[in-house]
């Protein structure tokens, strides 16, 4: 990082797409789809809010 020009730079690392995270993504996607079905079935409106 450097602030000499008034810009604060943060380096980013990159994670290549690999087979492991793709498999995990599919598992998560299935779980999400299943929870969405439940939401529809019971008419529940989920919230992203302070509990």
């Amino acid at each position: 990082t450097s602030a000499t020009d008034g810009l604060f730079r943060i380096n980013l690392k990159r994670r290549p797409l690999d087979e492991n995270n793709r498999i995990a993504a599919r598992v998560t996607a299935r779980a999400t789809e299943s929870s969405r079905s439940s939401i529809r079935k019971f008419g529940y409106r989920g919230t992203s809010s302070l509990t």
Partner: protein, 441 residues
């Protein structure tokens, strides 16, 4: 609130590939976080997280080790589509590069049950969205950077290095933009819905031709926390067809084309209102602005006597068919060719939020896909929108497009994730409430 669920659900942290380091507390405890313009809270795992495996494989915040920690203690919970976290709000100093943000409220996560967070290489997420979507209405880190006078200009920018051979992953710059990482001038568009970095976008072009659905206008969000580009199913099916991506065969879609295709064509040619066509043929109700599902389960009998049922998906299939046929008519295609093409599109429908494989050897023949922003065309070449997984003969190619349907009035909506932001350096200008894009360098 609940109406935002669809958008939050898109977040696919599993594939989010760019992350940086921050420090929380005094002395700073290091965490790897995703800098996410699609959310507004900062959270990291807590040392008090005992029952989630994800917490055991990531760095954890220990408040007792920090001299600047201040207790808050209110419970907090964030639901993402790909998982949820819960815990407690805390307050401490946060070090981002050389900047130290004082008294930042963040979430110490004590539960991270999702496999997403278990496999993720990042410890937490640093939201760079607006306070309007901040859970608990917490003041976001970026707001505190500005109010504490840490940056000269209320602007931050992203550069993602899409060159896989380079070690450098990219850069986020607070206070401005690094001229080394873009070419030419940025094209700026105003924020149309504060909360997300959302703006109005024009037509999406496939090989220079209109895909139809956004020829009026679509909403778009610049989202650094999403890997791919997500958009309406109808357009993604067209892209899939153009790049040869596999899709799921939709029987409802094929039924609509075979039974109603000619009628839709005729109605469009007679200049009926396209939005009313699906209600006119009885597949949707009309709510005054667009077709809506009539919620009726229909049963038809197949030739072999078995009964096949279909539901509201017929309405969606019809609306897609109308967009496709309309777009083909504008290109002066013959009726026969149009119906054949639309039938082919039914084979290319993407799974919602799913990935589509393409043939790596066909990259050179794949068309460009372009987005019209601020009256300018931002094109992506196949090399830019296809992701390669693995090496050598085992290399697989994945389309950088995925489907997400958000109905009007909030949609149709596009999420421009890392695939787009990798090609176009993006400036988030908080002072002028605008987003800017320029070719990345």
């Amino acid at each position: 609130d609940g109406s935002d669920t669809d958008i939050v659900a898109l977040k696919n942290y599993m594939d989010a590939q760019y992350y940086g380091e921050i420090g929380i507390g005094t002395p700073p405890q290091k965490f790897t976080v995703i800098f996410d313009t699609g959310s507004s809270n900062l959270w990291v795992p807590s040392v008090k997280c005992y029952f989630s495996v994800a917490c055991y494989v990531h760095s954890k915040y220990k408040s007792s080790l920090s001299s600047t920690y201040q207790k808050n203690g209110k419970p907090a919970e964030i639901h993402y589509g790909t998982g949820a976290i819960s815990g407690l709000f805390s307050q401490d100093y946060v070090k981002v590069g050389d900047l130290v943000v004082k008294n930042q409220v963040f979430i110490e996560a004590t539960r991270e049950p999702s496999v997403t967070f278990l496999v993720g290489k990042f410890d937490g997420i640093c939201g760079l969205g607006f306070q309007e979507i901040s859970v608990g209405n917490v003041v976001p880190l970026w707001y505190n950077m500005i109010s504490q006078g840490l940056v000269k200009e209320p602007v931050f920018s992203f550069w993602f290095n899409r060159n896989a051979d380079d070690e450098e992953g990219g850069e986020i710059v607070f206070g401005g933009a690094d001229p080394n990482h873009y070419k030419g001038n940025h094209t700026y568009v105003p924020i149309t819905r504060k909360g997300y970095w959302q703006f109005d976008m024009g037509d999406v072009l496939i090989d220079g031709r209109s895909s139809g659905i956004c020829s009026g206008s679509c909403a778009a969000i610049a989202d650094s926390g999403t890997s791919l580009i997500a958009g309406p199913t109808a357009t993604i099916a067209e892209i899939n067809h153009a790049i040869g991506a596999s899709g799921i065969v939709s029987q409802e879609c094929k039924t609509v084309v075979s039974q109603y295709g000619k009628t839709i064509l005729t109605l469009l040619l007679s200049e009926r209102q396209p939005k009313k066509i699906c209600s006119q043929i009885g597949l949707c109700a009309f709510d005054g602005t667009r077709g809506v599902s009539i919620g009726i389960e229909s049963i038809v009998t197949e030739n072999d006597g078995s009964a096949v049922g279909w539901g509201d998906s017929m309405c969606s299939a019809c609306e897609m068919a109308v967009v496709w046929i309309q777009s083909q008519l504008k290109q002066n295609q013959t009726q026969e060719r149009i119906l054949s093409y639309v039938n082919e599109l039914c084979d290319r429908l993407p799974s919602p939020m799913g990935e589509s494989a393409v043939d790596c050897s066909r990259l050179s023949s794949m068309p460009s896909v372009s987005f019209t922003i601020g009256g300018k065309v931002f094109s992506l070449k196949a090399e830019q929108y296809i992701l390669k997984v693995g090496d050598g003969p085992a290399t697989q190619c994945i389309s950088g497009f995925t489907a997400l349907d958000v109905p009007p009035p909030r949609g149709p909506l596009w999420i421009l994730g890392d695939v787009f932001m990798g090609a176009y350096h993006t400036v988030f200008d908080y002072g002028n409430m605008r987003v800017g894009f320029a070719q990345a360098a």
